[in-house]
Symmetry: C2
Subunit: 433 residues, 2 copies
Amino acid sequence: MTAKALPGFRDFPPHDLALRAYIFAAWRRVATRYGFEEYDGPPLEPLDLYTSKSGDEIVGQLYNFVDKGDRPVALRPEMTPTLARMVAERANGLKKPIRWFSIPQLFRYERQQRGRLREHFQLNCDLIGEAGALADAEIIALAIDVMREFGLGAKDIRVRVSDRRALTALLQARGVTADGMYAAYQFIDKLERMSPADLERHRTTPQPYAPATADDLIAVAGLRGLSQVESAVAMLPDGAAAVAPLTETLAALDAMGLSDWIEIDFTIVRGLAYYTGTVFELFDAGKTLRAICGGGRYDTLLQSLGGVDLPALGFGMGDVVLGELLKDRGLRPEPPSAIDCFVAAVTPEDQPHVLRIAHQLRDAGIRVEYAFGQTAVGKQLKIADARGARLAVVVGPDDRATGTAQLKDLQGSTQEAVAIDALAARCHELLAG
Amino acid sequence: MTAKALPGFRDFPPHDLALRAYIFAAWRRVATRYGFEEYDGPPLEPLDLYTSKSGDEIVGQLYNFVDKGDRPVALRPEMTPTLARMVAERANGLKKPIRWFSIPQLFRYERQQRGRLREHFQLNCDLIGEAGALADAEIIALAIDVMREFGLGAKDIRVRVSDRRALTALLQARGVTADGMYAAYQFIDKLERMSPADLERHRTTPQPYAPATADDLIAVAGLRGLSQVESAVAMLPDGAAAVAPLTETLAALDAMGLSDWIEIDFTIVRGLAYYTGTVFELFDAGKTLRAICGGGRYDTLLQSLGGVDLPALGFGMGDVVLGELLKDRGLRPEPPSAIDCFVAAVTPEDQPHVLRIAHQLRDAGIRVEYAFGQTAVGKQLKIADARGARLAVVVGPDDRATGTAQLKDLQGSTQEAVAIDALAARCHELLAG
């Protein structure tokens, strides 16, 4: 037998699955409060679903192969192409805006770096069919409320927001042409991690974003706060239109009481070419971890994927960085106990009653175990303790004669005789208390 | 863009995902009541995890390939090898018995038959480290309680139970040797679906289970009910020991009040060679569908997989046949409404208040939407209706002046003015009512 999972893949024994389940449950609660409905697609898809969007170079990062029916296929590296297909197939029957979320497991074959995973789970929230800035505020607010659901505050997390429309207007004013725009985005995107030597190279060799210079781009990327951006854009011919969505988005977030979380920060570009408007990333305030969440508006992507022509925006939030953050901050909850109640037999003759009572309590929604073998009551109570049971029910010959059982509160160290028919209700009372 | 998912793979738009989520939630509730803890493993595993158990012939049914690091890998076709690995890695640190469940998506490349899927989700419950018959009863009771959780009763579902120990003793008594035993199991397993020609061939040509005849096997497979089995086994030298676990299992299920569900039926063998004791399958009473669930005791499997030497038993229950059954019986629930409450603005100036109120209600756990554009209140209430909202909050200039909002119960057609700070509590009251 293979002793281990594949490198980059995680086993989830119960202790680890408990954290994953805690994260997924919070994701679902918050997305649902925003009216988002959950969907899913296959983890294995036709390869061309990805190459048609990202070109053949993405194949180097895919788990791709040819299946036994000679179909080129790949494990999904992202959810958006699947979403685009599903929406395109049903576009006419769906009320707009469409609010859909999913929690797919995604796969990328990356050259193994220390501790780098090849799979992760990701909350994907997408809002399709609405071009207005209130939708941008809605998506950013949803991401923030997920952080709040985990007990994180504006002091822990920074939401760095930019807007491709305002950024593009400012870059054009500095001389960047349409052909050089993507190179300018890439430069700004890499700026925070760029070595002095690379920066020097940008300053001294011809660049596709010329006649703008590296220092022009640095000046634009250095804009902070809405007032700086509004001032910079105000001087441009179409400046008012270019900055209006960002202004409106921030006003809406302010009305929701969330403006404390926001930093306007024009170094945020997000490398992907397909964003068309608002872009944002969530980071821990100390920036010790990679981005927790990233997203933005991609009004032309669905159509370019061969789907419907609908404006859209969304974000992805992975489980790995988030899990690290929760551990770092002491916000990882204790895994729940395995059971609520242990039912113990005093003599072998009590065993059928134990089975009856256990089944009755389980029917009432209580998590119950009992010993499979004959052992002393004291030993059974030790098992109860090891499994984290709050309650124990002990059944002996005297109890059977009177139709009762002894109910112990292992936390309060109290004991009472309870009629068997009343046991479930009394257990619920104690568990709620 | 590819217009469709791969053949045999399902998209889950929200309406379909709602059924899947309903099934998963019921699975989790019942497993948890039995003290089972959830685990998961990677959907992609080293290929030899499967070939070491099932031999190379299984490769024809796998989604297998060589990854970019030259590792032979496969999408998981079943969960037990992953479970065996995970338990083996942690065996010393785990209290026995181990009660673990998982809901993996499993993959098999089967030659496409009409409507046959190549992926499905499966509830896997396994109880490891307990050899006694109470564990067998526990696992069967868990499977039955899952059926009860879906509203199915003993009249809808039959639990057909056999025991390899009693079956083997009876077959040995008819002359089947150790070498011929697997062929005898296979014959009995196929008996219900066997053509008259095949049966005739078994009667007229030499078979590995000789000197036993096909009619000997048919006689054993025809045993029904515990008393028939006990009578047949009583005549054998080790008969008492061979039938004791089955008798004890049934007594325990009787104590739990579940004996109505059980049919002792010695045609149930389950094809897999690795079962060692109790085997069982759940069918719809009309036998119109394939098996809903199958399982049994496999005391030697974990060790043969290179893992730990622990007795174990478990079952698998797929989502596909179960989903069909729920639809057939009208037990598929209506998908939940998308939202609880729609917040509407009377004038454009009311929009910031809508945002504030919406966010406040969402913080209180209420599922809320509002319109992104400016439209008449009547049209906003139509959106509320289309999204299944029970409540609507309407904010106009007069309300703003008094710090209130109009709360409409769209079901009861009532309306009341509520102070904004009291809205969330009042919404909860109406939603609970």
